[in-house]
Symmetry: C2
Amino acid sequence: MKKIDLFSKDEKISASEEKEVKSRRDFFKKAAQLSVGTVTAATILGPVEIKADDPAILEEQPWATTLGDPVTKNRYGLPSLYEHNNIRRNMKLLQSGNWQASIAMCPIHESMGIITPNGLFFSRAHGGVAQIDPNKHRLMIHGLVEKPIVLTMDELKRYPSVTRTHFIECPANGGPEWRGPQFNSAQFAKGMMSCAEWTGVYLKTILKDIGLKPNAKWMLAEGGDSSHMGRTIPIDKVLDDAMIVWGQNGEALRPEQGYPIRLLLPGWEGNLCVKWLARLEFSDKPWYAKEETAKYTALKPSGKAIQHFYALEVNSIITSPCPEKPWTDIKKGQLVEIEGLAWSGMGTIKGVDITFDGGKNWVKAELKGLVLPKAWTRFSYIYKYEGKPLLLGSRAYDDAGHIQPTVKQEREAMGVESVYHRNAIHTWEVTAKGEVNNVQVLS
Amino acid sequence: MKKIDLFSKDEKISASEEKEVKSRRDFFKKAAQLSVGTVTAATILGPVEIKADDPAILEEQPWATTLGDPVTKNRYGLPSLYEHNNIRRNMKLLQSGNWQASIAMCPIHESMGIITPNGLFFSRAHGGVAQIDPNKHRLMIHGLVEKPIVLTMDELKRYPSVTRTHFIECPANGGPEWRGPQFNSAQFAKGMMSCAEWTGVYLKTILKDIGLKPNAKWMLAEGGDSSHMGRTIPIDKVLDDAMIVWGQNGEALRPEQGYPIRLLLPGWEGNLCVKWLARLEFSDKPWYAKEETAKYTALKPSGKAIQHFYALEVNSIITSPCPEKPWTDIKKGQLVEIEGLAWSGMGTIKGVDITFDGGKNWVKAELKGLVLPKAWTRFSYIYKYEGKPLLLGSRAYDDAGHIQPTVKQEREAMGVESVYHRNAIHTWEVTAKGEVNNVQVLS
């Protein structure tokens, strides 16, 4: 464990000053008299006159003298009103021009750990968020299976369930920035993703029950919403870890995530994880549906497009600092924690490197908390802030041998027309004042 | 993997019937015509006349033909309106008679995985739920430390953070049932607990920074709400895994959990994890505060009370079936998944046994998903339902060598006056009709 000394000397109370602290009441009184903002220990407890028994003190903090809310005022609880800025924000897509075919961006700069709370989970919809009555919804499984079935939600949930923690990411995450930075914001640059604990049934469990015909090589997944999103999945993925999920972080899937059920293909493009799932059909050929021809194909420099584009590459972003969380209040010589998220649709994060000079030199970050396959993985590096300009970037690698490319390497391979699957090293410029800007290092 | 056959023969479509399925439109049409309830595949697709090209079909499901909601209609998302029954419910405490000093019970029967969503997290308050302005809140750390400090929330959060998944449980969970069953409900019998991913700072990290004096043996934790909950913690726990947390499942702590900060003592009584935390004082003696003398002590048959009562014992409960989730719709011969939660404040769950005859015979359940120390651990057993009466119970054991006692063993040790720390084997009676009742097996 590194020695931590986050507070400069003049912010600390000396041992001799401490004897003046006569009671907690003084603390409340003096704290309450101070204006909002950064208050140092010395300011609160240093020069002030201590009156240990002033009875008027506690009234100054209203919550210390009056009863709070009944514990079940909210039978379904909500965040503190002081957290009103921690919300999803809308990225209206240029090509559609409406709020139904749009994206609710996750505030990844405010994220902690690896769970995204359901209220902040990113959402992309093609025909708006359907509000489906689960009692009327059915799942049909047919085509090249021995026993086609149509299931009610109650019937589906009788299958033995599994719970897995996985990220879901739109393959267009970062897609607006193939030619250069567009957003001075972590939320808009990389917020088309989130991570949750999902509960549902493995498709292989159902297929073992109803029987898959030997010539079944592809599965069509189709949504019951008005967009009828249809995507073709190769059978190997179906029989590996594909799930039908109805649970998200311990409760029913949210409407924005496809309530009552969605397909989950761990590590694969979010749009393949069809929401409001209504139909699975098995065939010996792929379908080439609208959303896998007109969209979700990646144009290469050769003029040819990648059509069957599935697993998301290893990727990472620093979330602290970032444009929304600058270092403008950090003093020279203070230690500060650099934090970020790494993920790979192809395996488990094995490590993350940090650069302070745009990729010339690298140091090893620490992975913290749970490290799970195809899940967000948080990394950390304790840094002594010196108030110098930085080009701060992160480079993740996974246990399948993948590592993030530089912007130059990515452009050489994919050009700038792909829209999808950007995973080049992301760089923040940190100015001498601690401001943070979105930049790209082209070398 | 066991062979799963959850649907009896007459509920399945034969392969020959499947050729009548001409399009998904028929599926939607016929599904929509059926009334709510259990609908078998044979009923939907068997005898009905198929008209493949009826244009009126899709209109019958409104969400299939009309745009849904804008994706950022809710910048902070909410559950589906159809989930209105998955809520916390109030247990009004007899001795207090008001809604502020009460308990919001977690719907554990609806839980999935090991994460409780923040909106459903159980909550106990002594003076109501304080709504604290984080800009005005301070944390004082003083007493036997080298450098006493008063921290703003921004300053506190500059310490390097850690993220850990732990349950929090009120020691009175199940406490009303020392003399026998009181609630025909899993939510009311064992819902004074939940489990989340917590983010904050280890107290040992702060103490390394400010210096702990050698004679510091106890820590007082005090809340800034109107109840000023005060509890004394031995220094060994403080220096082991005690945290000050500000994050809960990837967002700010909820007001009911002590926003902006609470103490977290993994595995120890929930009331020790002081909410709305405002002050930590170190001393060479314990405090004997109100809430550790008048309350939260356990009266033994000898007439003496256990006063310093900390870690929660190994425990478990079956959540499916339960009174809220009976087996009345399960048919004889069907396989059904028995599920439940196990937890120990003293270590990691090592295994769970299931009994069908009130403890005479036991079989081994499977632990599923993540198995983490001092966290909810989910167990599962695939059972062939025969429609016979059962006395269904679970018995968990942890890696520290603890195992749940029988009711008889627990009463011999603790009598029935303890109120706190009940962890005897919990039994559900399953009737021949599949109804489920809360009972106690006294042998």
